[in-house]
Symmetry: C2
C-alpha cells in the first residue's frame, strides 16, 4: 500500500484538491457529450428540417391530387394507407424484397441483433418472438461484445508486431548505412526488444483509422455496385452499419434478386463482420484518446485553481508502507505496478513535457520522479483505468509534466508476442 | 521475464500444447456465436415466418379489394404507394407524429446516434447530413463508449462498497450474537479490509441483472402508460433500446401530443440513459462470465487431449529469469504480477477445485502453486486479459484446478475506495 502525504497548507485549504478525480472525469465527459449533442442537434436540424417540410408538402399534394383525379373517398384511401403502414412493418414494399423470415433472412436478422446493429428491416411481430428476443439478445450481445474485445486484442497484437518489425528494419538500414564495420551486431539493444517497446496511442489510432477507411472504401465499392447506391451513400451506409447504429433507412442485401446472389450475401456478411469489428476497435482506441484529453483538461483545471494561486506543487514525499512479509503478496495480488519504485528525485533527469508518445505508467512514474517539483499520489492498483488515475493525479499536481497514457492492450500484445 | 520449461517428451509431441491460447479462444467464441446464430435463426424463422406470409396475403387482398371497389388503375395506386414509402422514410404517418427535425427531434436523433441505438425513426435524407453524420458519429460514439466504461467503473465501485458494507454488518451481527464479551474489537481482521476483498463476478452479475430488470420494469410501466403499449411489448422496447439494438419498430416519444409532454420527454431521456448504461454494464460483466466459460472449455479440451492421454502434467519447473538490476524496472513496467512468486509447491495445501468464487490471478497462482501436479507458464503482463491468459494456461495444464477469474474493475473499485 502506498500513501501520499501532502505537505503544504495551501493545498489542504483548496476545494479543488478534494474533488474525486473519477467523478470529476465522468461529469466532465457528461457535459462534453451534452454540449456535443446540442451542437449536433443544431446542425442536423438546420440541414434536415427544410427537406422534412418539403416532404410533408409534397406528400399532401400527391395525396390530394390522387383523391381529386380518381374520386376516391379520402377515408377509404387513408384506411388503405394505414394497412400499408402495417404491411411495410412486415417487410412488404412495392418493389419486391427478399423474404424477412426465411432461414437466411432470420439469420441476417439474428446477426443484426447480436451485433446490436438492429437495422429494423425485420423485427419480431409476434409476442413470443419479442419475449424470445429479450433472452436471446442478452446472451448474444454479451458474446459479441466479448468477440469485439478479443478482436481488438488481436489487432493491437498485430499492430505492435508489425510496427516493431518496421522499426527493427529501419534501425538495421540506418546501421548498415553508417558502415560501422566494427560493430557487427546489428540487433537492437536490449531496451528495444518487443516486450519493452509499444507503439503510441496516436500511432495505433492512425493505423486503425486507415484500416477502417480502407474497409469502408472497399465495402462502399461493393455496395454501390450491387445496390445501385451512390458511392457517398454507400459510405454513409457503411458507417451506420459498422458503428452498429443501424438506422435501417438503407440495408444491404434486401433486393429479391442479385447477380451472383450467394457470393454477394457471403461478401456482405464478411464485410459487415470485418467492418463492425474494426470500427469497434477504432472507437475503443479513440475513447482512450478522449480520456487523455479529459485528464489533460482536469489537470489544467486543478493546476490553475489550486497550484498556481497557492503554490502547493512544491515538496513531495512518497511513503511506501510495505510490510516485509506482505511484499510478495502485495506485489502479486495488487500487482503493485509502482509500489517498489522508491521516491527518488534525480535532478539531472529532464522532464518530458507535453509528450505525445505513449509510455507505460511506470515509465511515466520515472518521468514524474525525474521532474523537479511535483506531488505523487499513488493508488494501489495495476489496471488500465487506475493507471490513468495515477497519471491524472500526477499531471494534476505536476504543473509542467504531462504524463503520457498507458495502453493496456499494447502491453498485452507484446506479452503475447513474447509467448509465441 | 518468466519462462516455463516443459519437462516430458509426451507434452512436446502433443499438437494441442502448441496452440496459441488467444487464437484458440477467439475461434472457439466464433464457432459458439455462429452456432448460437443458427439456433436463433431457426427459432425466429419458425416463430415469425407464418405471420409474414399472413401479412403478405392480407395486404394483397386489401389492395385488390380497394382497386376493385374504387375502380382505380392499379398503376396509379402503386405509384401513390411508392410516394408514401418515401413519405414514411421522411417520418410521415397517417396518425400525426411529432416533427423529426425540429431542435428537440434532432436532439433525440443525435442521442440515438451517439448511443448507437439508431432507431431510424429519423435518418438524414440530405447528402450533407449523411456526410456530417459520419464525422459527427465517429467522435460521438467513441465518447459515449468511454462514458459507458466510466459508468461501469462507478457501478462496480458502488457494488463493491455496498457489498463490503453488508459483509461487515453481517460479521458484526454474528460476533454480537456470540456474546464474546472478551473480544471487544468487532472490527474485521486485516485481510478483510475493502482493498483486499472483492465481490465475485457472479455476485456482481446478479446485482447488475437485478438493477437492469428493475430499470426495465420501471421504464416499461412508464411506456405502457404513455404510449398505449402492452406491458410485455414495453419490456421488449426497453430491451431493444437499452441494448442499443434499436430496431425502430417501436419508438418512444413519437406521438404528436402527450399529457405532461415535457415531463414525459425528460423521463424518457433519463430512462434511456440509465437503461443503456446499466445494460452495457451487464453485457460487459456477462462477457467476462462467457470468457470464463470459454477458458474452462479450452482447459478441458487441452487436458483431455494432451494431459490425460500422455500424462504430461507431472513435474513442473518455474524458472524466474530476473536480472538483478532489472528487478524494479520489470516489476514496475511489466508489473510482473506474479514474477516474484517463486515456484514453491507446498504439498500440505489443498487444491481449490471448481471454485465459483472470483479471486485475483495471484490468489489463483497461489492456488495453482498449492496444487500437487500441474505445469506453470507465466506471461509477463499485468492486464486483465493476460491475467486470464495466465489463468488459462494454469487451468489448461492443471487437470484438477479450475482457477478462478479476476475482475479488473473490482480491483480498481477497491483502489478508488482506498483513495477516498
Amino acid at each position: 500500500m502506498v500513501q501520499s502525504h501532502h505537505f503544504g497548507r495551501a493545498r489542504k485549504s483548496c476545494i479543488w484538491s478534494h474533488i474525486n478525480i473519477d467523478f470529476a472525469r465522468i461529469f466532465l465527459l457528461w457535459f462534453v457529450i451534452v454540449f456535443y449533442a446540442l451542437f449536433g442537434a443544431a446542425v442536423f436540424s438546420a440541414l434536415e428540417r427544410p427537406l422534412e417540410l418539403e416532404a410533408h408538402c409534397r406528400w399532401n399534394r400527391q395525396l390530394a391530387e390522387f383523391v381529386q383525379d380518381h374520386q376516391v373517398p379520402s377515408e377509404d384511401l387513408l384506411e388503405l394507407l394505414r394497412h400499408y403502414e402495417k404491411a411495410i412493418a412486415a417487410g412488404i414494399r412495392i418493389e419486391a424484397r427478399r423474404p424477412r423470415w426465411d432461414f437466411s433472412g432470420a439469420f441476417y436478422f439474428v446477426a443484426t441483433v447480436a451485433s446490436t446493429i438492429g437495422f429494423g428491416m425485420a423485427a419480431p411481430a409476434t409476442l413470443n418472438g419479442k419475449i424470445f428476443l429479450i433472452f436471446y439478445g442478452l446472451i448474444g450481445c454479451a458474446a459479441t461484445i466479448l468477440f469485439f474485445n478479443l478482436f481488438l486484442e488481436r489487432v493491437i497484437t498485430l499492430i505492435t508486431f508489425l510496427t516493431h518489425r518496421c522499426r527493427k528494419q529501419k534501425q538495421k538500414t540506418r546501421l548498415s548505412k553508417r558502415h560501422i564495420a566494427t560493430n557487427m551486431n546489428t540487433q537492437p539493444e536490449h531496451g528495444d526488444s518487443q516486450e519493452d517497446w509499444k507503439p503510441s496511442d496516436y500511432y495505433v489510432t492512425l493505423i486503425l483509422a486507415t484500416v477502417v477507411l480502407l474497409v469502408n472504401c472497399g465495402a462502399s465499392g461493393l455496395y454501390s455496385a450491387m445496390e445501385d447506391w451512390r458511392y457517398l451513400e454507400s459510405m454513409y451506409f457503411c458507417f451506420v452499419a459498422f458503428s452498429t447504429i443501424g438506422f435501417g433507412d438503407m440495408v444491404s442485401g434486401q433486393k429479391a434478386h442479385y447477380e451472383a446472389h450467394w457470393v454477394y450475401q457471403i461478401a456482405n456478411s464478411l464485410m459487415i463482420i470485418l467492418g463492425v469489428s474494426c470500427t469497434y476497435s477504432l472507437f475503443s482506441i479513440t475513447a482512450i484518446i478522449i480520456k487523455q484529453m479529459l485528464n489533460w483538461i482536469l489537470a489544467k483545471l486543478l493546476s490553475l485553481h489550486c497550484c498556481r494561486s497557492q503554490g502547493c506543487c512544491s515538496i513531495t514525499t512518497l511513503k511506501v508502507k510495505e510490510p516485509a512479509n506482505q511484499q510478495i503478496r502485495n506485489t502479486s495480488n495488487h500487482s503493485g505496478t509502482c509500489h517498489v519504485v522508491k521516491a527518488s528525485l534525480p535532478s539531472e533527469s529532464k522532464c518530458k513535457c507535453a509528450s505525445t508518445a505513449v509510455e507505460t505508467v511506470c515509465q511515466s512514474l520515472d518521468t514524474a520522479n525525474s521532474c523537479p517539483s511535483f506531488e505523487l499520489e499513488i493508488r494501489d492498483s495495476y489496471k488500465l483505468s487506475k493507471d490513468d488515475a495515477e497519471k491524472e493525479v500526477f499531471s494534476a499536481v505536476s504543473k509542467n509534466c504531462h504524463l503520457s497514457h498507458h495502453l493496456s492492450v499494447q502491453e498485452e500484445a507484446s506479452a503475447a508476442r513474447h509467448k509465441h
